[in-house]
């Protein structure tokens, strides 16, 4: 298969490493936010929490290099059989930005709604803080779930791989700065863009906010697919996961949900249970005894509705 692979000419596949270029800015912005939080008491940091977030971020770059080859190979292989020759045109760039952002929405939604993908994405949500260091708390195990498959149709359609990689990088860089409590609402930008306010909702565990605001750059996808929830001042976001972690150990943070899946599978009694534990929503159990986002939201709605 490798022999059959035709490497397209530059610039179609030479990727601009947007994320590496942005690292110095990430560091400076974290420092500025720490100082602002200290002076203003708006937002919160904790040294142990930030240390584990930063180590997760560092580890994810190593893991990404070790596992990124499969994604690159898949992209280049599919690009050989592209339907259209889109090329580096202005409308191609615009379409690619929209298509990449939509594919991110799909990837992100699936990462929350199916346990096998949640097992890697849970890492990003496992801090009880919400600040710029949380943005860097990234998974080491993304490749296990082949999460990049949501991007593959873009190569087959004919978007140059380098263009897709570029917009993926832009999206990740964009999503860095929205991990903050220091910025409130942003006026008309809230209508179209993913903002700190929208993303605080996404990281919150309040039942009202569960499984909402999956957007990368544009919030329009959530509005189109009915997963948008606005931040409500009276219901301040509580960050983390439903069953918060009791560890700052990066190894435990990276693998705890995978260990949980393995343990559940060990005691599974039927193929239905196997499928449920792997592809069911996080919290799925054969007897329904564990909490899922849906059950928590249903309980919250029931509690909020006065008894007749």
């Amino acid at each position: 298969m490798l022999d059959d692979l035709t490497i397209p000419a530059a610039p179609d596949w030479v990727p601009a490493d947007v994320i590496t270029l942005a690292v110095p800015a990430f560091i400076v912005l974290v420092i500025l936010e720490m100082i602002f939080v200290r002076l203003s008491k708006r937002g919160a940091y904790n040294v142990a929490d930030s240390a584990s977030s930063l180590m997760m971020g560092f580890g994810s770059t190593i893991a990404g290099i070790l596992t990124g080859g499969l994604y690159l190979f898949s992209a280049l292989w599919l690009y050989q059989y592209r339907v259209f020759d889109i090329g580096w045109t202005w409308w191609g760039l615009l379409l690619c930005f929209l298509a990449e952002d939509f594919s991110y929405y799909v990837f992100h939604r699936v990462s929350h709604e199916r346990r096998i993908w949640w097992a890697s994405h849970i890492v990003h949500h496992s801090s009880q803080h919400y600040n710029l260091s949380t943005a860097l708390r990234q998974t080491w195990t993304g490749a296990i779930g082949f999460t990049f498959i949501t991007k593959l149709p873009l190569f087959w359609l004919g978007f140059p791989p380098a263009m897709v990689f570029f917009f993926s990088g832009v999206s990740l860089v964009y999503q860095f700065w929205i991990h903050t409590e220091t910025i409130g609402r942003m006026g008309p930008l809230e209508w179209v863009m993913n903002t700190p306010s929208h993303h605080r909702v996404h990281h919150a565990t309040n039942p009202r906010y569960l499984d909402a605001n999956y957007a990368g750059v544009l919030i329009i996808w959530d509005k189109i697919f009915n997963t948008f929830t606005p931040e409500v001042d009276a219901d301040k976001p509580r960050y983390g996961i439903i069953a918060n972690l009791g560890t700052f150990n990066p190894i435990r943070i990276a693998f705890h949900e995978w260990v949980g899946i393995a343990r559940d599978l060990r005691y599974a009694k039927s193929p239905r249970e196997w499928i449920g534990y792997i592809f069911g929503p996080p919290g799925w159990s054969p007897d329904g005894s564990r909490a899922t986002s849906d059950s928590l939201k249903a309980q919250w709605r029931a509690d909020a509705t006065p008894a007749e």
Partner: protein, 146 residues
């Protein structure tokens, strides 16, 4: 060593340096607050907030680092200080993998808990009294039987 590998290692070294600077700065600026569990009343309030029934028994670590509450014979509520936050978790009794009792320096008694959840570190809970609360002894016997 190839130039690509050299460049890769250089980027990783710079990243690791950045991580060290940020951790050092967070420490210097003073983000070192440690949450503590004040008393049983705080544990009861947290159990209520988690929509649990009133615990049968509550035990709080002598330094407020961790607290345990027996909700019923099959459920344990754990409150653990994690940096400047308190983490609360509800565990089925079978998730208690091991409990080892020990004598801390000076007076009192301590118990080292291990849960089967990989996302929860082992922890110690210590008491000023010579004997641990009865429900911890019951949990210990249950863990031993598994």
């Amino acid at each position: 060593m190839t130039p690509e590998l050299e460049q890769f290692l250089a980027v990783q070294a710079v990243s690791l340096g950045g991580v060290a600077i940020l951790i050092g700065l967070a420490w210097l600026i003073g983000f070192r607050t440690k949450a503590r569990i004040a008393d049983e009343a705080q544990v009861l309030a947290l159990a209520q907030a988690a929509k649990l029934r009133i615990p049968n028994a509550v035990a709080v670590d002598v330094e407020g680092r961790v607290a345990l509450a027996e909700i019923d014979s099959n459920t344990v509520f754990v409150v653990k200080a994690m940096g400047d936050r308190l983490t609360t978790r509800v565990f089925p009794r079978i998730a208690v993998a091991d409990i080892k009792m020990y004598r801390p320096k000076g007076k009192g008694i301590g118990a080292r808990f291990r849960f089967s959840d990989a996302g929860f570190d082992d922890f110690k809970i210590e008491f000023a009294e010579r004997e641990a609360p009865a429900f911890i002894e019951r949990l210990r016997r249950g863990a031993k039987l598994k």
